[in-house]
Amino acid sequence: MHELALAGALLDALRDSADERGIRRIGRVRVVMGALSCADPRALHFAFDVLKTQDDRTEAAQLEIEVEPARARCRHCRHEFTASWWQYRCPQCQQFGVELEGSDEIRLDWYEGE
């Protein structure tokens, strides 16, 4: 649900940067979402598409979201793997107790504009 607030923050960041760079039209927008962020990419897409129409510069922007996986390590059998979500059951020994190391950030990586 807070994807609406995130989309607002994303558009603010885009507008600030566009002001600074004199950009009048924004195309592709790349966002990197840490696997541990607990935000839903689909909901962020939806909220972004609703809010982007409020400004001429972002009207035609296309959002792309990349999920950055977390490193996972089982405390029991030491199995190491990558997780794209909060996974805390080990796929190898099936026990609970996985240590996750990853980002919970949601980052505006880059965008294209003219």
Binding site: A5, L36, L108, D109, W110
Partner: protein, 219 residues
């Protein structure tokens, strides 16, 4: 078209305001709690018990994130403490700028303990730092013993877990072993208290937890 590298965390603006809230509160020696739970878990009940048990020796104040009504604020104003209600309509969480505005309405020189009751929700508030000293997560027994696993971010970011409504554990077939196992998996270092605002089980432990931290922040 040119490609422009930004590399900015979207919560950065919030974090900046949260930092200034934290500095302000620290400079006044105020212990600040951010109370996070599902709707109806018992946040306001816990604050009522806390007011009663701490008594007039501790000057308490509350920021209420009840967005649609002023009922929770009215329940706490009965104790004669300052209560600021945040009214933003439909937000699913509080953010640092809302808290910053609320702080301006509070007599900061006359407060030892400030509790922020976040909007009832276990997902969205987790990502937003408000400038609190501690995050207290509350889960209530009727929600089920398996719920921690569904809200991992808040479990991971909490400083204390209060499991409320233990008086209903038997009626709800609440399995404490499942809770312990999930905690072990998600955040083994997390302290937790079994509590009932009804029978006051665990309230002594809660008050002791608070007092220990208030002594530190008053220094």
């Amino acid at each position: 078209m040119i490609r422009i590298k930004v590399g900015q965390d979207l919560l950065k603006a919030n974090d900046r305001i949260a930092r200034s809230n934290r500095e302000l509160l620290r400079s006044r020696g105020i212990l600040c709690l951010n109370l996070i739970s599902s709707p109806g878990a018992g946040k306001t009940s816990l604050l009522e018990v806390t007011c009663r048990r701490l008594g007039p020796g501790v000057r308490m104040a509350v920021i209420e994130g009840d967005l649609a009504t002023d009922r929770d604020a009215a329940r706490l104003e009965r104790f004669g403490i300052p209560v600021v209600q945040i009214n933003t309509g439909t937000a699913c969480h509080l953010d640092a700028s809302m808290v910053s505005a609320a702080l301006e309405e509070l007599p900061l020189g006359e407060i030892d303990l400030l509790a922020i009751e976040n909007v009832g929700n276990l997902i969205c508030p987790a990502g937003w730092d408000l400038g609190e000293s501690y995050r207290v997560m509350m889960l209530s027994v009727p929600e089920g013993h398996d719920k921690l696993a569904k809200y991992p971010l808040v479990v991971r970011k909490a400083d204390l877990l209060v499991v409320n409504k233990t008086d209903l554990a038997e009626a709800c077939d609440f399995d404490w072993d499942v809770l312990a196992r999930d905690l072990e998996a998600l955040n083994p270092a997390l302290e937790w208290i079994r509590m009932s605002c009804r029978t006051e089980e665990g309230v002594d432990e809660w008050i002791a937890w608070l007092r220990a931290r208030m002594d530190v922040s008053a220094r």
